[in-house]
């Protein structure tokens, strides 16, 4: 195994050997490089002041993706191009995103501005339209407390589709990256902390068996908070993202298979194709920065009671493939969650992949998320409904909720109340009564118990209204 991290920083090679493997990219920049343009606003990936851009080889040139440097560990950027605000301008010539921010008076205090500049850089290179939805999606990971965003939105509209010197520089950058990059596995050890980045499934399973207490790191968007918020040390970390099998994404026959280390961003197009409602929910998980690192596998293995994706996946009948050196097994996702933040994963096992059956005829699916803010908020309640309705009658029902119990789980009584009945308002009211039996939610800072209960029932009502009253406006976001 190689014992160093290699990447390009604003075009210049960096080889890091003597650093704790849980050193964040932000600390590397600010403390190691003394490059202070990138800011720490929250150390939890929620404000975007630390936004940097990672580049990697793609079909056409370089694919640039914004990430939160405050919650990315150094091993995660091995083999990448790291671009920071210091690398945008060429001498005194501002980059187009910087110029647009100046021209539109889009900075006041300026502390969030470098992060916005980097988010805009990724937006500009993403080839997206300047439509409001696209702009908000690109900016959702960046908070500004001064401007009220209007001028930043204007700057985004101005740079959509613009070209810059990085387009022309791509071949040279990729050449430099290729010359620097190391294949294979990496391990790093520093003052009692060590990390492994295996490059094959066998190697991963061996490490997992050997280090049952190790933390598994996929996107790290949750794991990193142990370090950045609780100041804990993680003695052993195993990075999953270099294992090709875990990055596998395919539509095979009657299902979509998503490797455990596939990011939300990479999974999104295929999910969009089959389940637009699920794709809409995924676009509300964290932000671009989070989804560029975070994985659906991590979201599942993390076993949050809310989970965001698990209710939808449970309703869709998704199954998990778990693997260890002892072999592999498959289980329905709802069986994986066995208690508050507890899963069925054995100490030597990993989540290998997720399998979602493709939509069937007569199935209606919808998933919803309720939070205080549309973008980048953790849900108070997540709901997912998957009904098979033929000739007006419900033949099958899979309904799951998050935020309503210690784990994301199915609403068994509600499903039973629906199956066999006509899909009409009386049935819906019977089902919402059953729902009250299914869950006894608690109240916390995200929502009170009564609200969780009421809104959970209302989401089922809205699902019905969507089919019964297509003439009515049902979404404020659609206005």
């Amino acid at each position: 195994m190689g014992g160093e991290i290699r990447f390009l920083l604003n075009g210049a090679p960096r080889i890091v050997k003597d650093a704790a493997p849980t050193t964040t990219v932000l600390d590397f920049l600010r403390l190691g490089e003394r490059a202070s343009g990138t800011k720490e606003g929250c150390a939890e990936g929620d404000c975007g002041a630390c936004t940097v851009v990672l580049g990697e080889a793609a079909d056409e040139g370089i694919r640039w993706q914004a990430i939160n440097s405050c919650i990315a560990f150094l091993p995660q950027i091995d083999g990448k191009i790291l671009l920071t605000v210091e690398g945008l301008a060429e001498a005194e010539a501002l980059h187009p995103v910087q110029k647009a921010l100046v021209d539109h008076d889009a900075s006041q205090c300026g502390f969030c501005t470098p992060g916005f500049a980097m988010a805009l850089f990724a937006f500009q290179h993403g080839g997206e339209s300047p439509a409001p939805d696209a702009v908000h999606e690109a900016l959702a990971g960046n908070l500004c407390r001064c401007t009220g965003y209007r001028p930043i939105i204007a700057a985004a509209e101005a740079v959509a589709g613009a070209t810059d010197r990085f387009d022309a520089a791509a071949p040279a950058l990729l050449e430099a990256l290729a010359a620097l990059t190391q294949g294979g596995s990496i391990s790093l050890e520093h003052q009692g902390e060590r990390s492994f980045a295996p490059s094959s499934l066998d190697e991963l399973l061996a490490l997992r068996a050997e280090h049952p207490d190790a933390h598994l790191l996929a996107g790290g968007t949750d794991l990193a908070l142990f370090v950045t918020k609780e100041y804990r040390t993680l003695p052993t970390v195993i990075l999953l993202t270099r294992v090709p099998e875990l990055r596998h994404l395919a539509v095979d026959g009657d299902a979509v298979t998503i490797g455990a280390a596939v990011t939300y961003t990479n999974a999104l197009p295929v999910i969009e194709r089959y389940w637009p409602s699920f794709a809409r929910l995924i676009r509300r998980i964290g932000s671009r920065q989070i989804r560029n690192l975070g994985t659906i596998g991590g979201n599942i293995a993390n076993a949050s009671p809310i989970g965001d994706t698990p209710p939808a996946l449970i309703a869709l009948g998704a199954t998990l493939r778990l693997r260890s050196r002892r072999g592999s097994r498959e289980m329905p996702l709802e069986d994986f969650f066995i208690g508050y933040r507890k899963t069925a994963l054995a100490a030597d096992e990993i989540v290998e992949s997720l399998r979602i059956p493709l939509p069937q005829a007569a199935q209606r699916f919808r998933t919803d998320k309720i939070a205080k803010r549309w973008d980048q908020d953790i849900a108070a309640v997540c709901a997912a409904f998957n009904l098979t309705i033929r000739a007006g009658r419900i033949e099958a029902a899979r309904i799951a909720y998050g935020g309503m119990a210690a784990t994301p789980r199915r609403a068994a009584r509600t499903e039973a109340a629906l199956i066999g009945r006509a899909w009409d308002l009386p049935t819906v009211e019977i089902a919402t009564a059953a729902l009250a039996e299914d869950f006894q939610p608690i109240g916390d800072w995200r929502a009170g118990a009564a609200y969780r209960r009421d809104v959970a029932a209302n989401l089922l009502r809205r699902f019905w209204l969507e089919t019964a009253r297509p003439d009515l406006p049902l979404e404020v976001m659609a206005l």
Binding site: E86, L94, D105, A140, L143, G148, I370, A371, L472
Partner: protein, 775 residues
């Protein structure tokens, strides 16, 4: 004073200019305190804080922490050379808790180490033994126990009891408003560097360098002159760095003084939100009497604020709240009582608006209820209660409203926002839409400009002209993003008639301009702009005299124009004129001073003329709510705002938009949530949600009122703009209430407090449906 700035220079007042640091911001080169190169030997600090809302400290065992690698010092209340106190008004605010902790998160010790990581690890090992005591957490509990951080305040005029008793109609109501975290992106931070003469250099992210200077001096027991406080820029402040920065700087200075090494204290986001104060939450009760036309005849209103553990700025916040209950309305017989409740929660503090928003919100809800009670249009009832010509022009605290432009703003908004047509369209939409409901509301603000305490309304500036014609400007105001530096530089450029680029502004520093007031109360440009104007005018006079003598013309026809100085038929460049003055041994440096005239305030009777003038604005907002989930969206907002004659329309527009969205956050999604033990559980952006780009009005139209110079002779007849637009967000909150009211055909009261989270909106919807069903 020139009323109209002359043309002929780049960057004249009245023109849109970018923020002076815009290029530095976008390139990441703008240095905030944590970005400044660290001096050798710098120590990094971490606070040890109380897990209890109220407890006696039985003992602090530092041994394990001190023994950890890299740890240099662990300091507690026993380690202060001077006073362990940083209270801005009263001396009641310990820097580190001594015997008792009074809120969860109160600092009890500070750890200093070679690295931040080491300090954080060691802080976990400081063992503090507590004996928990029962806490008082809520406003109601404090009111019941009559526990206040300062005496109750009252503004009274006429005989409200008699007016209420005689009124044909009478309504009572209650409203709660939540607090708000400032969520400046740059957390609290200070670096203290001991100097060879025993003095201390403090770099602090503070709106109030002088208060930091005093706080550090008290803590270290040194003269004020032995402390220099410097601040180039803050990464946002919004009032949160007015008094709260003092403790941070004082603790860094304590470490520096005790160790002899430079020390930096930077609060991580969670610590920042848990340890430092916020906007006050209020409980508002009213009893109002009115006639059949909706005219208010008598009002008895009680405002109770959660002050937290110490006085801090809470008494002043309450005074401003009481002085803004009237907002744009004439209240003939009125009693306004204010209680600043002492609770075992973090000390609430200044926040953009400084009590004004909380003062106004209850009145708006009340007038809305009067309109519903009488089945009159809200706008009609508001107009009938607006200030008018005397005798309807006197505020409850006795100041005449002489500059009322509410009718003008109302007319402009009604036309530009097409209010009548949209109201009709919304009613049509709502009749056909059982699930999604729209609401529309307007709100007009009148905000008093000046610190309520007349003494604070003073400022100083220092201007140097160099012999190459470049100008150095320094003043007592601090730059927190609001564009103060560029505005004041525009003023100086105008006085000298030189291009803005020739004027450089340097970091605010207590050794350049002393005894300053906080950059607060929206007063930055008014006060410092005028002080800088005075300093520059002094130098210009000297330069004119030199030029006149040199060219042999009388002084008065000497003019400064377009980077040149004209004397008779001769002219020289501004730089040559400066050099000439130097050659004639005439000083090219001057200190300027300004005090706002005609202010008075009697804190005992709560009467006087506390405000130099009023700033006005008006907004109309349209929203849609989802009656199944309580989710909502701001669809359109139109604003017409009064900046007087704007010094810099680009900067002012930024203040209007930014203030509005911040106000929206306060009134909608930003929810501070404490558990039953008094722990704040929304202490990071993962749990505390400020507006994002998608949350602003989808259609956001901001107009700066044209042709409306300030009647008061302010700097170039401009008006302060920092705070007033925040309150315009009340239009969004009122529109949400309007949407809820539509479910009952606008006939029933709406039970919707602030913040109007989706949860509260759904509860209000359900309450409305119950009222309709049972009627």
């Amino acid at each position: 004073m020139n009323d109209a700035p002359a043309l002929g220079i780049a960057g004249a007042p009245g023109t849109a200019q970018h923020h002076d640091s815009a290029r530095l911001h976008v390139t990441g080169r703008a240095q905030f305190i944590d970005d400044v190169a660290e001096p050798p030997g710098l120590l990094h600090c971490k606070l040890v804080t109380s897990p209890y809302a109220h407890a006696r400290i039985l003992g602090i065992d530092k041994r394990a922490a001190v023994a950890m690698p890299g740890v240099v010092a662990v300091l507690t209340a026993e380690d202060f050379p001077g006073a362990n106190d940083v209270g801005p008004i009263l001396r009641d605010e310990p820097c580190l808790a001594a015997d008792v902790v009074e809120y969860a998160g109160q600092a009890v010790a500070i750890v200093a180490a070679e690295t931040l990581a080491a300090a954080r690890q060691a802080a976990k090992r400081v063992a503090v033994a507590y004996e928990p005591l029962p806490p008082i957490l809520s406003i109601e509990a404090a009111l019941a126990a009559e526990r206040y951080v300062a005496p109750p305040q009252m503004i009274e005029r006429g005989d409200p009891d008699a007016a209420l008793a005689a009124a044909p109609h009478r309504l009572k109501g209650r409203l709660r408003t939540g607090g708000q975290d400032h969520f400046y992106l740059e957390g609290q931070i200070a670096t203290a560097t001991p100097r060879d003469d025993g003095s201390m250099l403090i770099q602090s992210s503070t709106q109030h360098p002088t208060e930091v200077q005093h706080g550090v001096a008290h803590v270290l027991n040194v003269p004020f002159a032995a402390v220099v406080v410097e601040v180039r820029r803050m990464g946002g402040a919004f009032g949160g760095k007015e008094s709260q920065a003092t403790q941070i700087a004082a603790l860094a200075a304590l470490v520096a003084a005790r160790t002899g090494r430079p020390a930096k204290l930077r609060l991580a986001r969670d610590d920042d939100m848990i340890v430092t104060g916020k906007r006050h939450d209020f409980l508002i009760d009213w009893d109002v009497g009115f006639d059949g036309e909706g005219r208010i005849l008598g009002l008895d209103m009680r405002l109770a604020a959660r002050a937290g553990n110490v006085a801090d700025l809470s008494p002043a916040v309450m005074t401003r709240a009481l002085c803004h209950v009237d907002n744009v309305y004439f209240l003939p017989a009125v009693r306004l009582r204010g209680y600043v409740c002492k609770t075992n929660t973090v000390s609430n503090t200044a926040f953009r608006g400084f009590g004004g928003p909380q003062g106004m919100i209850g009145t708006e809800a009340m007038i809305e209820e009067i309109a519903r009670h009488l089945d009159l249009p809200f706008e009609t009832v508001r107009a009938r209660n607006h200030y008018g010509p005397p005798p309807r022009a006197t505020t409850p605290y006795g100041q005449e409203v002489e500059d009322n432009i509410i009718p003008l703003l109302t007319a402009k908004l009604a036309a530009s926002a097409e209010l009548a047509e949209r109201r009709a369209a919304i009613d049509r939409f709502n009749r056909a839409s059982p699930v999604i409901r729209k609401g529309l509301a307007t709100f007009a603000v009148k905000f008093g400009i000046s610190f309520n305490i007349p003494t604070l309304n003073q400022a100083g500036a220092l201007v140097h002209v160099y012999t190459d014609g470049s100008v150095h400007l320094n003043h007592g105001g601090t730059e927190m993003g609001q564009g103060l530096f560029v505005k004041v530089a525009q003023v100086v450029a105008d006085v000298f008639q030189i291009d803005l680029g020739h004027v450089r502004v340097s970091a605010t520093s207590t050794d350049k301009v002393p005894n300053t007031s906080a950059t607060a109360a929206s007063s930055g440009s008014d006060l410092n702009g005028m002080a800088a104007h005075n300093a520059a005018t002094e130098i210009r006079g000297r330069m004119a005299a030199v030029a006149a003598a040199h060219f042999g013309v009388p002084a008065h026809p000497v003019t400064f124009s377009a980077n040149r100085v004209y004397a008779g038929n001769r002219s020289v460049s501004f730089a040559e004129a400066a050099k000439l003055a130097w050659q004639h041994r005439v000083s090219l440096s001057a200190a300027g001073f300004y005090r706002t005239p005609n202010l008075s305030w009697d804190p005992k009777t709560m009467r006087g003329r506390p405000f130099y003038y009023f700033a006005y604005g008006i907004a109309a907002s349209e929203v849609a709510i989802d009656t199944l989930t309580g989710e909502y969206r701001a669809l359109r907002t139109d604003i017409v705002h009064d900046c007087g004659r704007s010094l810099n329309p680009a900067i002012d527009r930024g203040q209007i938009e930014g203030g509005f969205v911040q106000g929206m956050g306060w009134l909608t999604m930003e929810e501070l949530w404490w558990d039953e033990e008094g722990h704040l559980r929304t202490h990071a952006p993962s749990t505390y949600k400020i507006p994002g780009s998608r949350d602003i009005p989808a259609d956001f139209r901001v107009h700066i009122l044209e042709g409306s110079p300030n009647p008061a002779p302010t700097i170039f007849r401009s008006k302060a703009v920092g705070e007033p637009p925040l309150m315009l967000a009340l239009s969004v909150w009122l529109a949400l209430r309007d949407a809820v009211a539509s479910l009952g055909d606008h006939r029933f009261p709406v039970m919707l407090d602030a913040p109007a989270t989706p949860e509260r909106v759904l509860a209000a919807v359900d309450d409305m449906r119950r009222r309709v069903a049972s009627s």
